[in-house]
């Protein structure tokens, strides 16, 4: 079965072709980062306008790259939530009607299920069941994944998402939008241990997270060291970024280990934009090895939003016999654990 996947839930237009026999055949991505940079955040109306311009050229490109003709496509999958309503509508309206024209099934995919399954696109995929850490600009959640579609929430952030905390730290350090990856880059030049930030909620039982206190600690350090230009010197900024990243990563690692212990599982999957963080990957690799567990993650380009994960997740749901009616359904809010298991 060959599936065309479309992702338009936020500020990336992603299109891919996945084949259940041959794997991922091609994927292309257009990122709107430059469009939103001057606003310091995603502008929903501009994002929607851009998706409606970019989707078709990207489809032409991915069809050509994968040597796929319309007759080769068995289904069209598109992100139907959660995300920005206007942006979701573009991909869903286009995808649903293209499936109608091609007389193939359409499949609405849960964006976070897409992320969760992205490591399945790698050469050495994890096997069910496992614990997943979904960690991005909008999410910090620990999920027990029993099988495809059977998800239980173990814990989540009670305030900011980890990626959101990274972006806010970036603003405090006057780094360019989007700031998360820039904080990580700056942290590499920082001196370990010069600043020590709290690891929120690690001394409490449970698997919930909180990152807003860490934000305050970061701001306090910035303000205590600032110079005439309103910022600390370059090295101090790097040291603060280093301490910030260490606190986030430590917190995530501690809770991941705790989730594995609680569930008795030995496999952890990390997904979402922050799962691309080098230190998080390295620390999980080494810490999990100590308890005989293993961490799986997608290649960098599939940690952030992309069409490949939607094509893959859509293909799994197609194989299970799922498809949409002619009504196009968008869900801006959509609990992952309300999905039907397959």
């Amino acid at each position: 079965m060959r599936v065309l996947g479309l992702e338009t839930s936020c500020d990336e237009t992603g299109v891919a072709v996945y084949d259940s026999e041959r794997g991922l055949l091609a994927h292309v991505l257009y990122t709107q980062i430059a469009l939103h940079a001057e606003y310091g955040g995603v502008v929903p109306e501009l994002a929607s306008r851009d998706h409606v311009r970019k989707l078709l050229p990207l489809i032409n490109e991915v069809m050509e790259k994968s040597d796929t003709g319309p007759a080769d496509i068995d289904a069209i999958a598109y992100t139907s939530g959660p995300g920005l309503v206007g942006a979701l509508m573009v991909g869903a309206s286009f995808g649903r009607s293209l499936a109608y024209a091609w007389k193939v099934p359409a499949i609405g995919v849960h964006h976070m299920e897409g992320h969760l399954l992205a490591p399945m696109l790698e050469a050495n995929p994890p096997e069910f069941p496992f614990v997943a850490l979904l960690v991005s600009g909008g999410h910090t959640q620990l999920v027990k994944v029993n099988s495809l579609g059977d998800y239980e929430l173990l814990g989540e952030s009670i305030d900011d998402a980890a990626g959101e905390a990274f972006d806010k730290a970036a603003k405090m350090l006057d780094l360019d939008y989007p700031g998360g990856p820039q904080v990580a880059r700056l942290a590499e030049r920082g001196v370990d241990g010069r600043f020590k930030f709290p690891r929120p909620m690690v001394d409490r039982p449970g698997l919930d997270f909180s990152f807003s206190g860490l934000k305050t600690a970061t701001l306090t350090a910035v303000n205590a060291n600032k110079q005439a230009n309103g910022l600390p010197d370059d090295q101090t900024c790097a040291d603060i970024a280093n301490a910030f990243q260490a606190a986030v990563v430590d917190t995530l690692v501690i809770k991941c280990k705790r989730a594995l212990e609680q569930t008795g599982m030995k496999t952890l999957v990390i997904a979402g934009g922050v799962s691309a963080n080098k230190k998080l990957r390295a620390d999980l690799d080494s810490e999990l090895a100590k308890i005989g567990a293993k961490v799986f993650y997608a290649r960098h380009e599939f940690c952030t939003d992309n069409g490949a994960m939607i094509a893959y997740a859509g293909c799994q749901r197609l194989l299970a016999g799922q498809h949409e009616t002619l009504a196009i359904n968008i869900k801006a809010r959509w609990p992952l654990d309300s999905l039907s298991s397959l």
Binding site: M89, F94, I328
Partner: protein, 239 residues
């Protein structure tokens, strides 16, 4: 001779129409907030009722705007999908001209120019002036998004000396209510029937575009866009 399907979701109304050599059939619903639920099932219903397949069509027309941004994108997205999937040309049609044609068809004795206004929010209207032209309409000015005060003070309006009819919900603004007109009819909405009629002429003239060029005409292209940083919050997980 042509077979053209037209779609429109530029306002709260949702409509589809088929123009088979001038014979019109259509479906119309007021379906605010449920355009995505209704448009494709209505297309399917209409085609099936006429025993047509998408591939039998010569072209697909759509209400390209101005109108609700989200509505325009739903329609453009669906039209792109249908047209790309069935290798059909697309004919974008002005929402304001379609409203004018609808009014003329409902009032065959009226030959006065029409001033069409849709509420654009933010104290502005999408604004156009149209006149009868044979069986169809022709625009007298370039469509624009302007404030009611500017409409009232415009030279185009002054030139008509009150000898015109105001149509469309945009006429609710108090400033526009004060304007001298022969009549003001607010309850006029776009309908795909009128787009299908206008499209047949454009099709005959070769005025078609590719699926990729099936883009909305927003008119409003620069406002202080409101950003929204929190894309997917943790409530997505709570039942």
């Amino acid at each position: 001779m042509s077979l053209i399907l037209a779609l429109d979701t530029s306002t709260d109304a949702c409509s589809v129409a088929l123009n088979a050599d001038g014979v019109i059939t259509s479906l119309f619903e007021v379906a605010a907030k449920s355009h995505t639920q209704r448009l494709l099932p209505m297309v399917d219903e209409l085609l099936k009722a006429k025993g047509c397949e998408l591939t039998d069509l010569d072209a697909i027309a759509f209400g390209r705007g101005p109108g609700s941004f989200t509505g325009l994108r739903i329609c453009a997205g669906i039209v792109q999908g249908l047209a790309f999937g069935a290798s059909l040309p697309v004919i974008p049609v002005s929402t304001l001209e379609a409203m004018a044609l609808g009014f003329y068809r409902a009032n065959p004795d009226i030959h006065l120019p029409l001033a069409v206004a849709l509420d654009a929010r933010m104290n502005e209207v999408y604004w156009g002036l149209c006149a009868r032209s044979g069986e169809l309409v022709e625009p007298l000015v370039a469509e624009q998004v302007i404030s009611p005060d500017v409409v009232v003070a415009s030279t185009e309006v002054a030139r008509l000396h009150g000898d015109f009819i105001g149509i469309g919900p945009g006429w609710h603004y108090p400033a526009m209510q004060t304007l001298a007109t022969v009549n003001k009819v607010l309850n006029v909405h776009p309908h795909a029937e009128n787009m299908a009629l206008i499209a047949a002429k454009l099709f005959a003239e070769g005025k078609v575009v590719s699926a990729l060029e099936a883009q909305p005409v927003y008119l409003r292209d620069s406002v202080s866009w409101q950003k929204r940083q929190r894309i997917r919050d943790s409530n997505d997980f709570l039942v």
